[in-house]
C-alpha cells in the first residue's frame, strides 16, 4: 500500500474506529480514578465488570438481552441525528410503545394467534412510539420548538401517563384483589411471548447441554448461550435484522437519501427541492418508531407485563444515544456498539453485587463517553482536513513541477 493510500485509509476509516475507542478508554480511566478515590481497586472492579458481562453463559445472555433495546433505540437515534434533529425522547417513546403494546396484548391477546399477534403488536408499538416522536418533530418543523427540550418534556409526560394508567385503568386485577396496589399490569397471554433462543434450538434439534456434549471452557459457555435456557430471546435477531434494514433504508433508498441530505445541509437540501420540514418530521417519527419498537420487544420478549415506566425504559433512551454515537451513527456500527454497552450495564450490575460499588458509576462513565466522543469529532475533522490539504499540496507540487519541465 502506498503512503497516500495508507493515509487515506487511516484518516477516513481507521480514525473513525480509533477515536471512539480512545474516548471509551479515557472515560474508563476517569472512572478508575473515581473508584481509586473511593478506596476501591479499579483493576479488580473492572475485572468483575468485564467477567460479569462477558465471562459466563448467563452474563453473556444478559448482555445480549440488554443490547436489544439499545440497538433499536440506537437505530432510531441514528436516523434522527442523520436527519439533523436531536431526539432525546427515546425514553418516553419506549414507554408509550410498551404501554400501548401491553394494553392491546392484555385486552385482545387471547384471540390473537401467536406469530401474527406478535407482529401486529410490534407494529403497534412502533406506531405509538412514532406518534410520540412525531409530536416534537411537528412542533419543531411548524413552530420552531427546540426538539431537545420538547422531547425531554415528552419523556416526563410519558412517565406520568404510565404511572397514571398502571395505578388506575391498567392495573393488574390481581393486585387490586390482593390490595397491594403495586403499579403493574396483568401478564400478557403466553401465546404472545416471543420465542427464546433455547426454544429455537430445541425446534432445530439441539437438545443436549454443553456438559452432556463434553464442550468445555468458554466454548461451552458460548454454546450454552445459544442452546441452554437463558433469558435471551429472538428479539436479538430481530434487532440485527432491523439494523440491516435501516442501513438499506438510509443508504439505498431515495427517502433515506433525502433524510441524510437534510441532516448534512438544510439550505442545500432546500435548494435541491427537498421538503425540509416534512423530512424533519419524518426522521423524528421514524426515530420514535424504533424506540417504540424497543418498548414492544421488551414487553413481548422479556417482561411480558408493564410495570414502573422508568424501570422498563431503564435509561435505554440515554444509553441508546451513547451506543449510537459510539457506533458512528451507522446502523451496522450500532450492532457491536450496543453489545458493548449492554455489557457495560450488565457488568455494572455485577460489579455492584460483587464489590458494593453503586451501579450509578456506569451512568457517570456513560456521560463521560458522550462528552469525549463528541469532543473527538473536532480532532477528527482537523486531522482529516490536514490530510486532504497535504495531499492537495503534493498533488499541485507534482503538477507544477511537471509543467515546468514541459516548458523548459
Amino acid at each position: 500500500m502506498s503512503k497516500t493510500k495508507f493515509n487515506r485509509f487511516f484518516y477516513d476509516h481507521l480514525l473513525n474506529l480509533l477515536l471512539p475507542l480512545l474516548a471509551v478508554l479515557a472515560a474508563l480511566l476517569v472512572g478508575a480514578l473515581i473508584l481509586w478515590v473511593q478506596g476501591v481497586d479499579p483493576w479488580e472492579a473492572y475485572k468483575a465488570m468485564f467477567l460479569g458481562a462477558f465471562g459466563s453463559k448467563n452474563g453473556l445472555a444478559d448482555t445480549l438481552v440488554k443490547s436489544v433495546p439499545l440497538m433499536l433505540v440506537g437505530l432510531g437515534i441514528a436516523i434522527a441525528f442523520r436527519g439533523g434533529v436531536i431526539n432525546i425522547g427515546a425514553e418516553g417513546q419506549l414507554i408509550t410503545g410498551a404501554l400501548f403494546v401491553t394494553f392491546l396484548g392484555v385486552t385482545f391477546g387471547e384471540k390473537a394467534p401467536g406469530a401474527v399477534g406478535i407482529l401486529l403488536l410490534l407494529f403497534a408499538g412502533a406506531l405509538m412510539g412514532g406518534l410520540w416522536g412525531a409530536i416534537p418533530g411537528w412542533l419543531k418543523a411548524q413552530l420552531g420548538v427546540n426538539e431537545i427540550l420538547s422531547t425531554i418534556m415528552m419523556n416526563a409526560i410519558a412517565i406520568q401517563i404510565g404511572y397514571y394508567l398502571l395505578r388506575g385503568p391498567m392495573i393488574d386485577p390481581a393486585e387490586l384483589a390482593a390490595g397491594t396496589n403495586i403499579p403493574h399490569s396483568a401478564r400478557l397471554p403466553k401465546n404472545l411471548d416471543m420465542a427464546r433462543f433455547t426454544d429455537m434450538a430445541k425446534a432445530l434439534g439441539f437438545t443436549k447441554r454443553a456438559k452432556e456434549l463434553g464442550i468445555e471452557g468458554y466454548a461451552g459457555q458460548l454454546y450454552g448461550v445459544l442452546v441452554e435456557p437463558t433469558r435471551l430471546h429472538i428479539g436479538f435477531l430481530f434487532a440485527i435484522l432491523m439494523a440491516i434494514l435501516v442501513y438499506i433504508f438510509l443508504w439505498r433508498t431515495t427517502i433515506g437519501y433525502k433524510i441524510r441530505a437534510v441532516g448534512l445541509n438544510r439550505q442545500a437540501a432546500r435548494y435541491a427541492g427537498i421538503n425540509v420540514k416534512r423530512n424533519m418530521v419524518l426522521s423524528m417519527t421514524l426515530s420514535g418508531a424504533f424506540a417504540g419498537l424497543a418498548g414492544a420487544v421488551e414487553i413481548l420478549g422479556l417482561h411480558h407485563r408493564m410495570f414502573e415506566p422508568t424501570s422498563v425504559s431503564a435509561g435505554y433512551g440515554f444509553t441508546g444515544i451513547v451506543a449510537a454515537l459510539f457506533g458512528g451513527l451507522h446502523p451496522l456500527g450500532i450492532i457491536p456498539s450496543s453489545i458493548l454497552f449492554g455489557g457495560l450495564l450488565v457488568g455494572g450490575d455485577k460489579m455492584q453485587r460483587a464489590m458494593q460499588i453503586p451501579q450509578v458509576l456506569i451512568t457517570a462513565i456513560l456521560g463521560l463517553i458522550v462528552l469525549f466522543v463528541v469532543s473527538t469529532d473536532f480532532f477528527k475533522r482537523k486531522l482529516q482536513t490536514r490530510r486532504i490539504s497535504e495531499e492537495a499540496e503534493t498533488f499541485f507540487e507534482k503538477e507544477t513541477g511537471a509543467g515546468e519541465e514541459a516548458s523548459a
Partner: protein, 316 residues
C-alpha cells in the same frame, strides 16, 4: 367565616410556595441566559444542579455552616462549567449532545457520591427563613397577608430575586454585557472589534454553571434540607426552557420562573387538599406547560443569532 379563612390561608400558601419554589429556577435560568446570550447552549444544567445540590449538602452536613455549603456548590459548579466549556467551546462539540453527556455525568456522579459517602437520606440544618425582626415584638412577618407571603423566605430566595435586576444591569449597562451579546449575536463582528469571543464564552459558561450549582444547593440546603438521588427531577431542563420562554431577558426569565413555580405550588397544594385530580396527572402539568410555552410563536425573534454555533478565528 371559617370557609373564607381557609381560602385565604390556601391562597397565601400558594403564593408563598410560588415565591419559594422560584429560587432554583431563577438561579439556573439566569445563569443559562448568560450562556445563551453569548451563543452557548448548556443543556447540562440539571447535572450541574445535582452536583451542586450534593456538594452543598455534604459541606453543610460535615461543617454545619450553610455558607460553606454555598461555597462548595459554586465551586463544583465552576468545575463542571469548565468541563462543559472545554468540550463545547474549545472542542466545538455539538452542544445538544455534549450537554446530555454532562447531565448524565452529573446525575451518575452525584448519585454515586451520595451512596458511598452518605448512604441514607439525612436532613441538615441549612438556611432558615428570615422573619425580619424589627423590634422586640414586631417583625415584618407579622404584617397580615403580606408578611406570610413575602417575609418568610431564606436568604438564598431573596438572593435569587435580587439577581434579576443585577443580571439586567450587567447585560444592558456594562461593557461586559455588550461583549456577551455581541459574541452571541455576531461573533465574527465581535472578533473584528477586538472582543475575545472564546474568553467571553468561557466566562459566561462558567458563570452559568456556578449559578446552576447554587440552584442545586438552594434545593438541598434551603428549600428541602435533604439530598436525594436525581432530586432535581428535570428542573434544570425546565430552566433551559425558561430562557427560551423569557425571550433571553432577565425579567422574562423572572416571569417564567414565577409562572412555573406557581404551577408547581398549585400542583403540590392540589395534592395537599385532596382535589379530585390524580396526582400523576398534576405532576405532568409543568412539563406540558413547558412545551406550550416553547410553542408560543412571538418568542423566537429574540434568539441570539449565533446560538449553538461554534466560533473559529479565521485567517481572513
Amino acid at each position: 367565616m371559617t370557609q373564607e379563612l381557609t381560602f385565604a390561608v390556601i391562597i397565601i400558601g400558594i403564593l408563598h410556595s410560588g415565591i419559594r419554589l422560584a429560587t432554583p429556577y431563577l438561579y439556573a435560568g439566569l445563569g443559562e441566559m448568560f450562556d445563551q446570550r453569548a451563543g452557548v447552549l448548556n443543556l447540562g444544567v440539571d447535572g450541574i444542579m445535582l452536583m451542586g445540590a450534593f456538594f452543598g449538602f455534604y459541606a453543610v452536613y460535615q461543617t454545619g455552616n450553610a455558607w460553606l455549603g454555598v461555597a462548595a456548590a459554586v465551586l463544583v459548579g465552576i468545575v463542571m462549567g469548565l468541563l462543559m466549556a472545554v468540550v463545547s467551546i474549545s472542542f466545538q462539540a455539538e452542544q445538544g449532545i455534549s450537554g446530555i453527556g454532562l447531565y448524565m455525568f452529573g446525575l451518575g456522579l452525584s448519585s454515586l457520591l451520595f451512596k458511598t459517602m452518605l448512604g441514607t437520606v439525612e436532613g441538615v440544618q441549612g438556611f432558615s427563613e428570615l422573619k425580619f425582626q424589627i423590634t422586640q415584638n414586631f417583625s415584618l412577618y407579622d404584617i397580615p397577608i403580606i408578611g406570610p407571603i413575602f417575609f418568610n423566605h431564606s436568604v438564598l430566595t431573596y438572593g435569587a430575586f435580587l439577581l434579576v435586576p443585577i443580571s439586567a444591569y450587567v447585560l444592558n449597562k456594562t461593557t461586559w454585557g455588550l461583549k456577551i451579546k455581541a459574541a452571541g449575536q455576531n461573533p465574527e463582528a465581535a472578533d473584528s472589534l477586538g472582543v475575545n469571543v472564546t474568553t467571553v464564552r468561557y466566562m459566561t459558561v462558567i458563570l452559568g454553571a456556578a449559578l446552576a450549582g447554587l440552584a442545586g444547593a438552594s434545593l438541598s440546603i434551603s428549600l428541602l434540607n435533604i439530598f436525594q438521588e436525581n432530586m432535581t427531577n428535570g428542573m434544570g431542563f425546565i430552566a433551559v426552557a425558561l430562557v427560551y420562554f423569557g425571550s433571553w431577558r432577565p425579567y422574562g426569565v423572572l416571569a417564567g420562573a414565577l409562572l412555573f413555580s406557581t404551577v408547581n405550588a398549585l400542583q403540590l397544594w392540589a395534592q395537599v387538599l385532596n382535589l379530585p385530580i390524580p396526582s400523576d396527572v398534576a405532576v405532568m402539568l409543568p412539563y406540558l406547560l413547558t412545551i406550550i410555552a416553547l410553542a408560543m410563536p412571538f418568542r423566537r425573534a429574540a434568539q441570539p443569532a449565533a446560538l449553538t454555533r461554534p466560533f473559529t478565528r479565521g485567517d481572513n
